[in-house]
């Protein structure tokens, strides 16, 4: 594998995998909470939250990236705050790429989990509460296992989206080899240089393979979980 890919190419692939994994894992708890709030919550601002979550899906990625730069950049309010108090810097770091990827994949993740939550019969949760389970236990023992296929599907979709994220990432954290140059950024960079097509083509194949594998895996995992639940 290392012979086949140049160190730069290999770094881009490894970085993409790391960025996407971190983006998916970190956004997962937030995704579940947001999906719960949207599926079950009755509160003012419900529609606003729904819109906000879906915004990255509809906005041009470059706009999302620019907004991220304004908020989480070194001069942004949140960016400054996080830097001063926690020493977390997003701008022009791989963490920024993960943040951008996470936010771009978030709507897909929330949608999948929300659909799964809406498919859970609240009557089952009532039954669990009459059997002595507190709300937290009801969630852990009934709701969570039942929405697991949705969570897995959502996570894999978000991962695949993160692997392919380009516009917001390059706007927010630029295209620094070894730092913020993910797979799509690398392909873009190779295509800008005369004679870079072969290198780009290899990465394109990898991108296709990863995307395909993610989709098939998601399909297979949610189907096998669903089969287990149905008891067949």
């Amino acid at each position: 594998m290392t012979d086949w890919l140049s160190p730069d190419e290999w770094r881009a692939v490894a970085l993409s995998l790391r960025v996407s994994s971190v983006a998916t894992l970190v956004s997962l708890p937030f995704g579940i909470l947001t999906a719960l709030a949207l599926a079950r919550g009755r509160f003012p601002g419900h529609g606003l939250l729904n819109g906000l979550v879906h915004l990255p899906l509809i906005l041009p990625p470059v706009v999302t990236g620019y907004l991220l730069l304004l908020t989480f950049g070194r001069k942004g309010y949140v960016g400054q705050f996080l830097d001063q108090w926690f020493g977390i810097v997003f701008a022009f770091r791989w963490t920024g790429a993960a943040l951008a990827a996470g936010i771009m994949g978030f709507p897909l993740m929330v949608r999948a989990i929300r659909l799964a939550i809406e498919a859970v019969d609240p009557k089952l949760e009532q039954a669990a509460s009459t059997l002595g389970a507190s709300r937290l236990w009801v969630f852990l023992t009934v709701t969570l296992p039942l929405i697991l296929p949705g969570i897995v599907a959502g996570a894999i979709l978000a991962f695949a989206k993160a692997m392919g994220e380009f516009g917001a990432t390059i706007t927010f954290v630029s295209n620094i080899p070894g730092q913020t140059q993910t797979l799509p950024s690398a392909i873009y960079a190779f295509l800008q240089v005369p004679g870079g097509e072969t290198q780009a083509a290899r990465l394109v194949l990898i991108a296709i393979a990863v995307a395909m594998a993610a989709l098939l895996l998601s399909e297979w995992v949610s189907r096998s979980i669903a089969r287990r639940i149905a008891g067949a």
Binding site: T130, V138, T141
Partner: protein, 360 residues
Amino acid sequence: MTLSVTLGHSFGGFTLDVAFEAPPGVTVLFGRSGCGKTTVVNAVAGLLRPQRGRIMLDDQRLLDTNARVAVPPHRRRIGYVFQDARLFPHMTVRQNLSYGRWFARRGNGPDIGHIVDLLGIGPLLTRRPGLLSGGERQRVAIGRAILSNPRLLLMDEPLAALDEGRKAEILPYLERLRDGLGLPILYVSHSVAEVARLATTVILLDGGRVRAAGPAACVLSDPQAAPLFGLREAGAILTARVTAREADGLVRLDCQAGTLWLPDAPAAPGNSVRLRVLAQDVMLALTRPEEISALNVLAGTVQEVIPGAGHDALVRLRVGDDALLARITARSAGALALAPGRPVFAVLKSVAVAPESMGA
């Protein structure tokens, strides 16, 4: 363990305003669909917060809207068997059964093996609910509720979704629960047959209010309540003891009022059975009828005559310590000059007591 309930709740133009007590045994909340039965049971379980009310289980306050007390469902220790079994689809039958046990305080809860035997669900333990029949699911749901070691069991029409065959399959288990576990049960039903078979106490609901309440035999033979049960279904309950199976196959039963013969009885001699006698299957005579094909004739006195809406009348008789209800025409009631205190003979055709309405 006695449950006392006072509730007021308005929703969608319907007002529920009830107060009743459920003593130990099976208390049946009876009424037509939409009379508020499920609302009452959900309030007792804590799944619904009524606008006004007070619910006490012995001296523990489960709900008191005046004092802003509302114990959450998982702390009430009240088992609930729903009309749709609501088994957890991602767990096996065994895991479903142990679910409530896991949350129940450690202590002397019912033994899982005993309950599994009682409900006949041993062969199902490793299966998943998706593959069970309706009757099997409902039995597992009953077991799951009992094994959570509740202080009170709520059953909301547990048999309503089942066909007659499945009902017949589960009823004996419910009777065993009533007689064997000593667990008070609040049972919602709109089937008179279930009331007759299971109830110790009956609370009759109509239009969101309690119309009659008391021991099953009294409420069922209350002519005022008869229209709510439906005139075809109106009838009384007699408790009888099987004394012998005679040579021609007839079973001899002794009750307070006298001796009855039935073509079949589900119990062996020595056991008590509950008999349901429909009002429309009882004829009245002023003298003991001679040379008549009906075997069962009981002597009694008229307690009450209630004219019906049409041409009929309901007559409540006292036979021994039991009550009997007869539905006759208003013309006959006049011709026989039926009035409270008049001695009469009630003629029951032996086929009048249908086997499926007899409790074992």
